[in-house]
């Protein structure tokens, strides 16, 4: 066990998996010599050579397309898209090809590509260095979508994704890259894709979140406990598809109240799915409206970023609304 940042957890997973399996390759813009603009691929080119860790031309569609072709031919590519905001040039490859190859070929071919990409606010990146596009991918059958919020999960989930047989969109909350620290097991370490993580138990309200939203949820829950005596159960979903429905429904059946927090624009965001799931499977347990605390239905702003991204204040207000509803 060593204390690591989230990005060190990611780097650790890449190193460990590349050491374990020489079919694992990583590439993307500035990934090789420059070791990634966030340094997620630090040491990889030096340790594994230019064949296994390299920089590419500026073509996201080519990066993902090439990765698919490598995977079809037996490799395990882990391409990086420099910012999730720049994944759209590759959207066609992801939605039309990566997600549908196994299905359309009747299982003859598959492409277990793991796409790593930093997402979300927190670095004053404005419209194009801050987006949270997870809902586009959770609406795309054939993809798994994973978002860690702790250094250990960052390592363990990435390792699982790389060892798995399915394509994974692995989204990294860049705000947490260096701001969270935690113990990370050395060497071989996986966290299964699927199960959610209960951050803290509570009886009054279920608070669902993931990625960079886990931190403000923890703060808000602490304040709600302290000031209002509200017992908040925080569930870090970790895997958005296939989501851990049982944990969600069990929690809501216990608490009768649900608040969901996410950074992306509220409408048709991932939180809408969680709300719909609860409204379909646990409606009788509900004692209050299901509240979504999301980004606003606007592009991501620059100067007003702090107002846009849900923070502890907005989560706290939602918890109080939920709690006081009757």
């Amino acid at each position: 066990m060593a204390t690591k940042t989230l990005i060190q957890g990611i780097n650790d997973a890449l190193k460990t998996e590349m050491q374990r399996d020489d079919r694992v390759l990583t590439f993307g813009e500035d990934v090789g010599l420059n070791e990634g603009v966030f340094r997620a691929t630090q040491d990889l080119q030096r340790m594994f050579g230019e064949d296994r860790s390299f920089s590419t031309p500026l073509t996201e569609t080519g990066i993902i397309g090439m990765a698919i072709g490598m995977a079809i031919n037996g490799l395990k590519p882990v391409p990086e898209i420099q910012f999730a905001d720049f994944i759209y040039p590759a959207f066609d490859q992801i939605v039309s090809e990566l997600a549908k190859l196994r299905y359309r070929s009747g299982g003859e071919f598959s492409a277990p590509v793991v796409i790593r990409t930093p997402y979300g606010g927190g670095i004053r990146g404005g419209l194009y260095h801050s987006q949270s596009p997870e809902a586009y991918f959770t609406h795309t059958p054939g993809l798994k979508v994973v978002i860690p919020s702790t250094p250990a999960d960052a390592k363990g989930l990435l390792a699982s994704a790389i060892r798995g047989e399915d394509p994974v969109i692995y989204m990294e909350p860049k705000k947490l890259y260096r701001s969270v620290k935690g113990d990370v097991p050395e060497g071989d370490y996986t966290v299964p894709i699927g199960p959610a993580r209960t951050v803290q138990s509570g009886d009054d309200i279920s608070l669902f979140c993931y990625g960079a939203m886990v931190e403000p949820c923890k703060q808000a829950a602490a304040i709600a406990a302290e000031r209002d005596g509200i017992g908040v159960e925080i569930i870090d979903l970790r895997t958005l598809y296939p989501v851990d429905e049982a944990s969600i429904l069990d929690s809501v059946k216990k608490t009768g109240r649900a608040v969901i927090v996410y950074e992306a624009p509220k409408t048709c965001g991932y939180g809408s799915e969680i709300a719909a799931l609860i409204a379909e499977q646990a409606v009788d347990s509900l004692e209050a409206p299901i509240i979504r605390v999301g980004g606003f239905d606007t592009p991501f702003p620059y100067a007003l970023e702090k107002i846009y991204v849900p923070d502890a204040a907005r989560v706290y207000l939602a918890l109080k609304d939920s709690f006081n509803y009757s």
Partner: protein, 396 residues
């Protein structure tokens, strides 16, 4: 063993695009040919024997017979859609003849001839056209969207161009694994405008994997003529801007196509990098069964239905000159083709039913996620007993 011709070998040509003075088309653009106007060849690829050229001829006829049959099946409503390669048979047969069985193929929808030429059982193909329970893709894709792992013919989408980037990756993986396999991929003239033509060419130039890219310039993208697709005089000229050697070839000259493919494959296998080959041909039929070409090109295609341009007719004349063709041979080749196709159609149509409902939920992931299992179970349980009419409605 192939019986060699007694003609001098054609010297391996560097695909520079700088064709000699005689290698020009009517607009004096470079166009590599071997067959002359009379369909004689002064020089024949060294590696080809009489058996080879006959095999290619027979392969072209099988494609044509298959396409005629497809068309009839579609017109009579027995299959929902079809798409043919009339006039493009040489492209498929000659590029494939020069390939090894273990090489990877990234086709688009107009290269089913490759499967036929690689000897895939015809029933495998007709099962796909009918989308029945015997289809390798479990009836999931529209007709002509074949997948065939055994011959490394990789499943493709309907989305134009995307597969080209895959081909780059597959070729890079072959090199990474120190395998001698190469990869070939095909793209239409229309497809050269797609995003992934650009990405694949860029990456092929940089990484120089063992890859050969064929542009099948059949003059049309549905209704759009190639002159309104791209303002360059030739499509092979795109190679230079990516640092990829390129050449423009008469795609209806089976010997020229074979020779140039062979050279490019040799270069790829020798680690000398990718080649871009423009094969100039013509889409004689409609784009697909949904298309009516008279709307946009009148009867222009009739010009191509003649012995001077049709690739099968040209090959036949070549064979005749070489003393390898007679009426009886022709008849037997056609008979063989049609009877095997007939059998395959009958088998596909009569003995196979729709895929099971349950199969609709498989292969989305390696293992079915719980929520999807629930969707499936619910459907199977709830709808049991509901009989749907053909229009999808249900009488209760």
């Amino acid at each position: 063993m192939a019986k060699p011709f007694n003609t001098p070998a054609h010297p391996v040509k560097q695909p520079t695009g700088d064709a000699s003075e005689t290698d020009r088309d009517n607009n004096s653009l470079p166009l590599y040919k071997i067959l002359d106007a009379d369909c004689k060849a002064s020089q024949i690829p060294r590696s080809l024997g009489a058996d080879d050229v006959k095999r290619m001829y027979e392969g072209m006829i099988l494609i044509r017979a298959f396409d005629e049959r497809q068309t009839k099946l579609q017109r009579s409503g027995r299959i929902g859609f079809c798409l043919t390669a009339f006039g493009e048979e040489a492209v498929q047969v000659a590029t494939t003849h020069a390939l090894r069985d273990t090489d990877w193929v990234y086709p688009y929808y107009r290269q089913h001839g490759i499967l036929l030429y690689r000897g895939v059982p015809l029933e495998t193909m007709t099962n796909q056209l009918f989308g029945n329970a015997g289809d390798l893709a479990k009836g999931r894709q529209m007709p002509v969207h074949y997948t065939h792992k055994d011959t490394r013919y990789v499943s493709f989408s309907s989305v134009i161009g995307t597969h080209m980037a895959h081909a780059v990756g597959t070729a890079m993986a072959s090199r990474y694994k120190k395998s001698a396999e190469i990869t070939v991929t095909y793209i239409g003239d229309g497809g050269t405008s797609s995003n992934d033509f650009h990405s694949a060419m860029t990456l092929a130039g940089i990484y120089k994997p063992p890859l050969v890219i064929f542009i099948v310039n059949n003059h049309y993208a549905i209704s759009q003529p190639v002159a309104k697709q791209c303002a360059a005089e030739t499509l092979h000229s795109k190679g230079e801007g990516y640092g990829v050697p390129s050449i423009r070839v008469d795609g209806n000259d089976f010997l020229a196509v074979y020779q140039v493919s062979r050279d490019a494959y040799d270069r790829a296998r020798a680690g000398e990098g990718p080649t871009l080959i423009e094969l100039v041909t013509y889409r004689v039929g409609p784009h697909s069964s949904s298309d009516d070409p008279s709307r946009y090109r009148g009867n222009e295609s009739d010009l191509w239905r003649n012995d001077a341009l049709d690739p099968i007719a040209r090959t036949r004349r070549f064979l005749t000159h070489a003393g390898l063709w007679n009426e009886a041979y022709e008849q037997s080749v056609w008979d063989q083709a049609t009877s095997s196709i007939n059998q395959a159609v009958t088998a596909a149509e009569s003995s196979k039913h729709d895929p099971d409902w349950q199969s609709m939920f498989e292969d989305v992931y390696a293992d079915m996620p719980p929520a999807l299992t629930r969707q499936m179970t619910q459907l199977l349980a709830r709808e049991e007993g509901i009989v749907r009419t053909d229009s999808g409605e249900f009488p209760l």
